[in-house]
């Protein structure tokens, strides 16, 4: 059974190359191939590594399927009063040959679910900044497809579960005699509503799973805080997973019952054209209060969620496992796979993450691999490894510094007097020419192209501060600016790369078309848009959807901070180790650059934490399956930055006074040396 997946175009989510999967058989021999396009593909071997990891995770989840199925069958024929009969019945059910067929079907479901996991995973979470953006995220075509396929899979699983449960659930149509015409005696097919209920519940649960998957950012791959063996990680996740599934299934059953009570007649009426109905109808209170039915629906939900979550957890565990990249190529041919090349190249983000994680680990735990980093090239004697690694880390950190500075500039313009919007729109802003066309600065451009009013409100929640000197600002309510913000969410600082002109104008165009209509109004022109806007801003619903969550934009800035944290840790450990291990002094040449980069970043981070909402922590959810660590990555970055500087200063001590640095940085370093930061 070979399954081919048509990937939905080269979208931003399709980071992993197209994958074909082998049969979900226990034997790890399925054909795994990676058709990819493009010249700058990372080494063949790396993709093989990733492919094998995914394949193993899928195989593992398929192998766990019989266990889950057995548990499901045992629990579904629960009979506490006759335990021996219960067990023997359950095993009798399991021995049937049809069980193999259902297992194959369920394996298919698991494979499809894992393909969706692979297609939709991300290492940097996307954080919707307003409720509208969240809705936009959910109704995105790709996500809609995700939801549809998941509800179909849910229905399929519910069907398997219903058939395996036997009892009264196992067929849709049951023979019945028409009670109205007793004399006819013709056996007719009647609808078994229990079966229908179970199927619809499965579809509903599949859809809810998909919805929660996106709302809770479950496609985000959090890397573990400590390295552990895969089995131990899985075992640790298992009790949590079971509890979470059981509780969530309970909530889903409740929601589904409510839904069925009100809307259950629609599918029933549709199917009734084919069959008759068995009394009593289930979309009544008495029908829904059938404990056995509720138990079976709940159990089916638990079965569904447990299988899917196991697939998801295994994928996470396998994908985030540390991979050892060689520092130096063993042969000249395979230089593509080594650490410096992977760090510098344009490989998929996950490979870059793995490379940075490996850099952090090698700098901390492996003296022999550190020695390779500090080594010189054989003919020529250049420290290529160190130069490449440090350059890439420093570039990452500089990017972050710039991103933070731009964010702060945007936040600082809040409340200042702005030139009227027309001038901004008519002529090119002067900022344009000054900016070098660098990736993180693209944000600034997009902001400059927008009406400055919008810009003012985009990046800060303190829009309507009472001491605002700009009358024009106070003219508009909070909602308008944030409405623009909601529309222009693509300008969130996560967005990288130059913007297409089409995109850039998307935000303002809404308003230009509006004002264009009103231009004929003559004198009204100044006040009427304002009235419209203030009118809109007073509508609770609009404010509700368009208001920006102040913390979300801050979280979005740091969404990929895990990379920077590893770069900081790797770099600082390497520099600290170089104090004793660097025989050729290769690190010394870059030490001033590293120090100044770190101190500049420290300055930017310090300033950033003075912004409103930046230093408040979101409430912590302990013991939940859903990972929310991405919400607090900024604190992790701040802590590891400080630790990194301290690591260098405590190792080098007084020697740092000999390092060239500006007076300001010298002063700052002295502070660090005296432990006064």
């Amino acid at each position: 059974m070979v399954l081919l997946l048509a990937a939905p175009g080269p979208g931003p989510l399709a980071l992993w190359p197209l994958t074909c999967y082998g049969a979900p058989l226990p034997a790890p021999g399925g054909p795994v191939s990676f058709p990819w396009v493009g010249g700058s593909a990372p080494g063949l071997q790396l993709l093989w590594v990733l492919g094998w990891r995914i394949a193993t995770s899928v195989v593992c989840s398929v192998l766990l399927l019989p266990v889950c199925t057995t548990a499901f069958v045992v629990f579904s024929s629960l009979n506490l009063l006759h335990p021996i009969q219960w067990i023997s019945d359950a095993f009798h059910n399991l021995y049937g040959s049809y069980v193999v067929f259902y297992l194959l079907l369920l394996s298919l479901v698991v494979v499809i679910i894992s393909i969706f996991n692979i297609e939709f995973y991300t290492v940097a979470p996307s954080i919707p900044c307003s409720r509208l953006a969240l809705i936009g995220k959910i109704v995105h075509p790709q996500q809609v497809m995700h939801s549809l396929v998941h509800s179909a899979m849910g229905m399929l699983m519910a069907w398997c579960a219903a058939v395996m449960t036997k009892d009264q659930y196992h067929v849709l149509a049951v023979p019945c005699t028409d009670s109205d015409s007793l004399d006819s005696k013709v056996a007719r097919a009647c609808l078994n509503e229990y079966h229908l209920f179970l199927l619809l519940a499965g579809a509903f649960m599949g859809y809810s799973y998909s919805l929660l998957y996106f709302v809770n950012n479950m496609n985000y791959l959090p890397f573990p805080i400590i390295q552990q063996y895969k089995f131990l990680r899985f075992r640790r996740a298992l009790p949590l997973l079971l509890r979470h599934s059981a509780v969530e299934s309970l909530y889903l059953v409740r929601n589904f019952c409510g839904l069925y009570y009100f809307l259950g007649y629609i599918p029933k009426a549709w199917i009734m054209t084919l069959h008759l109905l068995l009394p009593p109808p289930l979309d009544s209170l008495s029908g829904l209060l059938d404990l056995s039915l509720l138990y079976h629906v709940w159990l089916c939900g638990v079965f569904l969620l447990v299988t899917w979550y196991i697939t998801w957890v295994l994928f996470k565990i396998y994908a985030t496992e540390a991979h050892v990249f060689p520092v130096q190529p063993m042969f000249t041919g395979d230089s593509e796979e080594c650490l410096p090349k992977v760090l510098n190249g344009s490989s998929p983000l996950i490979i870059k993450y793995l490379a940075l994680q490996d850099l952090m680990l090698l700098s901390q735990y492996s003296p022999s691999r550190r020695q390779e980093v500090f080594s010189l090239s054989q003919p020529g004697g250049h420290p290529h490894n160190w130069v490449a690694i440090s350059r890439e880390c420093l570039a990452l950190l500089n990017d972050l510094t710039q991103k933070l500075v731009i964010y702060q500039e945007a936040a600082a313009t809040n409340g200042r007097v702005k030139p009227p919007p027309s001038s901004v729109e008519s002529k090119k802003p002067p900022v344009m020419e000054e900016i070098a066309f660098q990736t993180p600065k693209a944000n600034l451009m997009s902001k400059a192209l927008m009406p400055s009013l919008v810009k003012a409100s985009l990046f800060s929640s303190k829009f309507t501060s009472p001491d605002s000197p700009a009358p024009i600002v106070s003219l508009f309510g909070d909602g308008v600016g944030s409405r623009m913000a909601g529309v222009g969410d693509f300008k969130s600082p996560v967005y990288k790369g130059p913007l297409s002109p089409q995109l850039t104008r998307r935000g303002p165009r809404l308003w230009t078309s509006l004002t264009g209509e009103l231009w004929t109004g003559g004198a009204l022109i100044v006040s009427f848009p304002a009235q419209v806007k203030s009118f809109l801003s007073k509508r609770v619903l609009i404010v509700y959807f368009f208001s920006k969550h102040p913390e979300a934009s801050i979280q979005a800035v740091f969404s990929d901070a895990q990379m920077h944290i590893w770069a900081l840790e790797g770099l600082s450990h390497l520099v600290a180790a170089s104090f004793t291990e660097d025989r050729f002094g290769v690190v010394q040449t870059t030490l001033p650059t590293i120090l100044s980069t770190l101190l500049m970043l420290q300055e930017a981070v310090d300033k950033h934490f003075k912004l409103p909402h930046a230093s408040s922590r979101p409430p912590r959810l302990s013991g939940s399956l859903v990972d929310t660590s991405y919400k607090t990555l900024r604190f992790a970055l701040r802590a590891s930055l400080k630790t990194a500087i301290y690591r260098i200063t405590t190792t080098f001590g007084e020697h740092l006074n000999a390092v060239q640095a500006s007076a300001e940085h010298q002063k700052r370093l002295q502070q660090f040396l005296e432990f006064k930061e």
């Binding site: 573990p224 400590i226 640790r236 735990y365 912590r620 302990s622 701040r638 690591r647 432990f675």
Partner: protein, 543 residues
């Protein structure tokens, strides 16, 4: 094996140990008046005398507002909901079982049965792990590294790893932070800061202090430039995990990344990432909990002792562990050598110090602890009689806590109170140690405090560059810092100014000590242990 019979005589009664110089522990009349020729070398540290009187007694048990309200009997279901929120299922069962005529008879009977079953289960669990039935205060006092946690005015003491700064927990659970360079003494108080059992400063940081409390871990962030003496509780971050209380031990990784926390009630050790507030419970196998955690100075291994006769050593890269189960009692205390290759530990009920070696190469091997198969006995602390000028004195017993200085040259052992020794006063024994090329343990002396003062806890300064600095908290509330001057192998750049400019303040050197414990080296070393291995060969002796 080193035994106590070769210890130098105890200092005369009424004298206090001031410092070590030239292999001699120098005593004086009081801490305030060191010998005049020594004053120039006195380190600038606050010598504290915190007395019990101004402190509030720990009698503030109930902080709630319950007492201010008139008692009103609610309906049974309301009470059940309250009990569910406060205690959980057992609370609800208790409420139902104790209700009169409010519920059906069979409900009441069923809940009494369920309650009895619960109690029986917890009793069974408690009989397997007897310590679980203790109150949490007793639990902390039982496993604490201080001799008298419950009623002494100093509870916990912690040096900052890099600067001359330390934090002390007083009997009322407030924390004071003393700094040698500043007169400001911040006092930390928090609503949740109760029954503090451990403190730990974050390495590679100026200001982060982790506090193990009754129900949670508090992470204080103290701005070192702040002039405030009463930081608000907004500076504290609260970390809690269900089932993980009381927290009795904390350990930061030496590179400042992760924090470990342990509770004698929870079998799992938690690894915390403080900034993202995520925690990973480490897997467990047996034993009712974890009482004491100690991270080796090189960051590669962690010692975790349990209330049962077993202790574990975790390897800190892949987090696998090795267990040492064949002990006669639980592991009381332990300490790591500076390179993390040797662990000294003591066991409850045995007056011995054991040593366990870990090979160097286990650092590269992933997921391997690779400790030695058996532990060797390096010191016998059993009770002996030693001759003093004033007569015979008895010395010895079980060790209560043990600290090794960061350079690996001095080992201080705080003994358990023994009625035959010094009228039950805990004695502090000081040993000289050497780690390479072979392990050596030699007696150095007994640290004595003021008459009537009991040693409460001992700690070494983590970055004292003139030798080692032993801080001793006495039951009178005094914190004494006893500098031990020697040429420190960890700071070879330090030149002993004292030795060149001044005559030794008291007593001549020249004491001839025999090597009392010498481990045979695996390879023949240039340094021959049989001939002239006396202390005078060591760099210290050449002072």
């Amino acid at each position: 094996m080193c035994s106590l019979s070769l210890f130098p005589p105890l200092p005369p009664w009424g004298q206090v140990t001031l410092y070590e110089y030239n292999n001699e522990l120098v005593t004086g009349d009081s801490y305030e008046s060191p010998p005049p020729d020594f004053r120039g070398q006195w380190i600038n540290l606050p010598v504290l005398h915190l007395t019990k009187d101004p402190l509030k007694t720990p009698g503030r048990l109930d902080h709630g507002t319950k007492t201010a309200f008139v008692h009103h009997r609610e309906s049974i279901w309301k009470r059940c909901i309250n009990a569910w929120c406060d205690v959980g299922v057992s609370g609800v069962l208790n409420e139902v079982a104790n209700s009169e005529e409010e519920v059906f008879k069979w409900v009441k009977t069923a809940s009494s049965w369920a309650l009895a079953l619960c109690r029986w289960g917890s009793f069974l669990h408690g009989s397997l792990f007897p310590h679980l039935s203790l109150r949490s205060e007793d639990l902390i006092a039982e496993f604490a590294q201080v001799t008298n946690w419950s009623s002494c005015c100093l509870r916990v003491f912690a040096w900052h790893p890099h600067t001359n700064k330390f934090a002390v927990v007083l009997l009322d659970d407030s924390i004071r932070v003393y700094n040698a360079n500043s007169t400001i003494v911040p006092s930390l108080k928090h609503r949740l800061q109760r029954n503090v059992a451990a403190l730990a400063w974050k390495p590679l940081s100026a200001s982060v202090l982790a506090v193990a409390c009754q129900s949670c871990i508090l992470i204080w962030t103290l701005d070192p430039n702040s002039l405030s003496t009463r930081p608000s509780s907004g500076c504290a971050q609260v970390l809690s995990h269900p089932g993980h209380s009381p927290v009795t031990s904390l350990a930061w990784s030496p590179n400042g990344g992760r924090l470990l926390s342990a509770s004698p009630v929870d079998a799992a050790v938690l690894v915390w990432d403080i900034s993202t507030e995520t925690c990973v419970p480490l897997p467990w196998f047996r034993g009712g909990g974890v009482t004491y955690l100690l991270w080796s100075p090189d960051g590669s291994k962690v010692l975790a002792t349990t209330p049962s006769a077993i202790f574990r050593v975790w390897e800190a890269q892949m987090w696998t562990c090795e267990r040492w189960p064949t002990l006669s009692g639980r592991c009381q205390t332990g300490c790591w050598s500076p390179d993390g290759n040797r662990l000294l530990f003591t066991v409850v009920g045995e007056p011995l110090i054991y040593s366990l070696t870990f090979p160097e190469h286990s650092r590269e091997g992933k997921g391997q602890v690779g400790g030695a198969k058996t532990a060797t006995i390096v010191a016998d602390l059993s009770e002996t009689t030693i001759q003093t000028p004033s007569g015979e004195e008895r010395l010895g017993g079980e060790a209560h806590s043990m600290v090794w200085d960061p350079s690996g040259e001095r080992l201080a052992v705080l003994m358990k109170g023994n009625p035959h020794v010094q009228h039950g006063k805990p004695v502090i024994l000081l040993f000289r140690t050497r780690n390479s090329p072979v392990f050596e343990l030699l007696p150095c002396g007994v640290v004595q405090g003021e008459p009537g003062a009991w040693a409460q806890l001992i700690a070494f300064h983590p970055s004292f560059n003139k030798g080692a600095l032993l801080s001793v908290c006495w039951s009178t509330g005094r914190i004494a810092h006893i500098p031990l001057y020697f040429v420190n192998a960890q700071f070879p750049r330090f030149s002993p100014m004292l030795g060149r400019t001044q005559e030794p303040p008291a007593g001549g050197g020249g004491s001839t000590h025999m090597p009392l414990f010498t481990e045979s080296a695996p390879i023949s070393s240039p340094w021959d242990p049989s001939s002239g291995t006396s202390w005078s060969n060591s760099p210290t002796g050449r002072l």
